[in-house]
Amino acid sequence: MSHRHLVIAYVVTWVIQLSYAGFLTGKWFALRKAEREFPTYEDFGE
């Protein structure tokens, strides 16, 4: 019983963390697409 809970806890931790990493990856590609449409300056000062 406790062993099953241990496995669930570790799996849930990884699922949450990797889901967030996947969310960031998707957002990254969306940003790259937007950047191709609107190329940005090096910083606001230029």
Binding site: S2, A9, V12, I16, L24, W28, L31, E35, P39, T40
Partner: protein, 273 residues
Amino acid sequence: MNPSHSNSPNYPAERSRSGQGLFSGKIWGLAWLLLTCGLLVQGFHQAIFVAPTEETMGEIQRIFYYHVPSAWLTFLFFLISFIASIVYLLSKRKHPLRALGADALALASAEVGVVFCTVVLITGPIWARPVWGIWWTWDERLTSTLVLWLIYCSYLLLRRFAAGPQMQTLAAVLAIFGYVDVPIVYFSTRWWRTQHPGPVIGGNGYLDPQMWKAIEWNVLAWLSWGLLLMVTRYIMERKRQLIEQHAALRALEASLDAMPETGPERGPERGQA
């Protein structure tokens, strides 16, 4: 008024495509990712295979090696968000560029903090069910942690759905007031008689050195993972700010182009005056 951006040397997209040798961000990022993966494997190995089995709770106690580092890192990332929010409020008038950076950092660290806090709130009940016989109890530690999670979720929702120039200020104020809950969460097991176990650091309980080692490895591994996510999110938010700024500039340029040429030099009003 619309320049051909593809030939300009000032655009980072061009620079990143041309590459910057061994010191480019991509290589450092990949090295950091590989190091983090190694640390996570080592942390898992220490937690499952090296740390001794706890006498009373048995195998279920090993949840501790993911739950406790996640809780500490929740506090750390919310602390970064708290400090960045203060910097934003202090510098938004005199140093707007610094304020934008601080705002991006506050958002990135709050997001990563919410991810770790979610892990804490889910792994805790999974541990509690076989040990306490219940999934959840409304004791001070658990309730204040849930409140903390709700505060920072509302912070992220505010940032996602609110619009207008005051949004960043409101979000910064919310992050600062929200951080007040962190010491309440940490000291709740000392201030009140809670069902939750006492603190690992500064508590009265004894912890086996091998167990300490497993905690330390996992803190290091998840810290590296969390910082990697936070820096990535920060870079993305800065890019989004730049794109938004540039889109606004181009819109302004386009509207100036569309205006009829009735400037002060050529306008009839000047001649008449």
